[in-house]
């Protein structure tokens, strides 16, 4: 196997293993659109990264953190509904990102690579980024798993139980920001959210506990990466979209499997 392909596989699997468990929280907390907004905003991070000539992932991470902090504060004192706020943040910063990119006439930026990813161009340094960021996320997720789950189930109950609710919410936003920054090169900003939510949605049908679902989501994501890369090699299709298409395929196939959750919940209601 070529080395570039091995690197692509390592990068893809690294992302999938983190995005799965984190994606579970994204769908449990109904934050898919939040993730989408952050990843749109991330293009501004790319633009600023190019402008100031810093590491692009770092630029994306900083902008994603800033935007999620801004949204966090606005949502606490909200006058507008959440989806409106998210829409403004997403498209406002996307527009700003495009403008900044267009101002730099001397620099030719391959926009498509950021929007749709370029997993086959992953370097060793990128892999270090992915595994450092990913491992940090997984450790934090494991340590605060219980508190995060409590906050997800019922905020006020968690608060009464003494969980630092705001801290957990902020940490979650931080984790999503990190994943967006490191996953950008794999599937691209437009498709990152799919890597968070589709494997989690696939795993839901096979899970009876939150932990099973988190694990299953990691596995489903890894399978999608392998199939997607293989298909991309076989038919010369773009790698990022192929991975997402593979995940979607898994999701459709999962419908033919009897639904564990549904079977149980039919008894009561």
């Amino acid at each position: 196997m070529d080395e570039f392909l091995l690197r692509a596989l390592a990068a893809g699997l690294g992302i999938a293993i983190v995005a799965g468990p984190l994606g579970c929280f994204v769908i449990w907390r109904r934050m898919a659109y939040f993730g989408a907004a952050l990843s749109h905003a991330a293009l501004l991070g790319v633009a600023l990264g190019v402008w100031f000539d810093i590491n692009l992932q770092l630029g994306v991470l900083l902008v994603a953190i800033l935007v999620s902090l801004g949204l966090f504060v606005l949502q606490k004192n909200q006058r507008l509904s959440n989806d409106t706020l998210l829409g403004i943040a997403a498209h406002g910063s996307l527009a700003a990102g495009l403008i900044v990119l267009s101002l730099m006439e001397s620099v030719r930026v391959d926009l498509l690579a950021y929007l749709f990813g370029d997993i086959l161009a992953v370097s060793r340094a990128d892999i270090v980024w992915i595994y450092t960021g990913g491992l940090t996320c997984l450790v934090l997720l494991a340590v605060f798993w219980r508190s995060l789950l409590s906050v997800t189930v019922h905020e006020e109950l968690a608060r009464v139980d003494g969980v630092a609710v705001e801290r957990m919410q902020l940490m979650f936003l931080l984790l999503v920001s990190v994943v967006i920054a490191v996953a950008m090169q794999i599937v691209g900003l437009l498709l990152i959210v799919s890597l968070l939510i589709i494997p989690a949605a696939v795993a839901r049908r096979f899970s009876a506990t939150p932990e099973q679902m988190a694990f299953g989501a990691g596995v489903a994501g890894a399978i999608a990466v392998i199939i997607g890369l293989w298909a991309s090699l076989q038919w010369d299709t773009p790698a990022g979209p192929s991975i997402v298409a593979a995940a979607t395929g898994l999701f459709i196939i999962s419908f033919f499997y009897p639904d564990k959750a549904r079977m149980n919940s039919d008894i009561g209601s």
């Binding site: 449990w28 109950l157 839901r204 506990t209 959750a261 919940s265 009561g268």
Partner: protein, 257 residues
């Protein structure tokens, strides 16, 4: 009645929200072994007062004293868990009281939901869910039980059963109980003291005395008749509560009657 301690002492508490008075110099005391019911129309400040009692928010002015290291069991009005989150009742209880699995069967039995331990939380009926929430509160060995609209989302038969249950739990454990309700006729039998709230404390006393109080009658008089005559009114009202009510709507309701 044996000597009781003061669990919660809220004195002269005021809260403003967007230049509106939500609570105006409100006093509230709950002693151990007593059931206090907070009653008032939607948007009268009941939930705000409960949040202050629980320590979830602090008032703009006034004093709050809680007994030292008091164990509070809180039963929220609603629990919505996404269908996408696989969670059994057992796991839900575990989130509130880690490592006490051996007690789960017993508290569920106590709260009358002994059969649901292994069921997904999403499969429970409104009444079962309330009982599971109550069981979760019981796991704290509460000195004070706080129940926000325990009858919301529960069918009519279940409602009176629930109030009987709360009363017998109080008798068993000697804890203080703070109930929030919007209809007095339901809680009459199961309460020692009623505080009628409409931003300020309108009246305060034994249930039969409060039900005769002129301020209470102005607030609730017409509605009580509606409830006796046309039952659908009651149902409309509950649907209102099940959703999130915004502040402007609340204000309207508060002026009603």
């Amino acid at each position: 009645m044996k000597a009781s301690t003061t669990l919660i002492d809220v004195a002269g508490v005021s809260v403003w929200h967007n230049q509106h008075v939500v609570l105006d110099k409100v006093d509230l005391k709950v002693h151990s072994g007593e059931i206090v019911t907070l009653i008032g129309p939607n948007g009268c400040g009941k939930t705000t007062l409960v949040r202050i009692t629980l320590g979830l928010m602090s008032p703009d002015s006034g004093q709050t004293h809680r007994a030292k290291k008091i164990r509070i069991g809180y039963v929220p009005q609603r629990l919505h868990i996404e269908e996408t989150l696989p969670l059994t009742v057992e796991r839900f209880l575990d989130l509130g009281a880690r490592g006490q699995t051996h007690r789960f069967e017993r508290v569920l039995h106590q709260s009358g939901a002994g059969h649901v331990l292994k069921s997904p939380v999403q499969s429970l009926s409104g009444g079962e869910l309330k009982r599971v929430l109550l069981a979760r509160a019981l796991l704290q060995d509460p000195e004070l039980l706080v129940l926000d609209e325990p009858s919301a989302g529960v069918d009519v038969v279940g409602q009176s059963e629930l109030y009987d249950l709360i009363k017998s739990l109080r008798d068993e454990m000697g804890c203080g109980v703070l109930l929030v309700s919007h209809d007095l006729h339901l809680v009459m039998a199961a309460t020692d003291r009623v505080i009628c709230l409409n931003h300020h404390v309108c009246c305060d006393g034994k249930p039969d005395a409060v039900s005769q109080h002129p301020e209470y009658l102005t607030l609730f008089g017409s509605r009580l008749q509606d409830q006796l005559a046309v039952y659908t009114h009651h149902h409309d009202h509950k649907h209102d509560l099940a959703g999130n009510i915004d502040q402007s709507l609340k204000e309207e309701h508060a002026n009603h009657g």
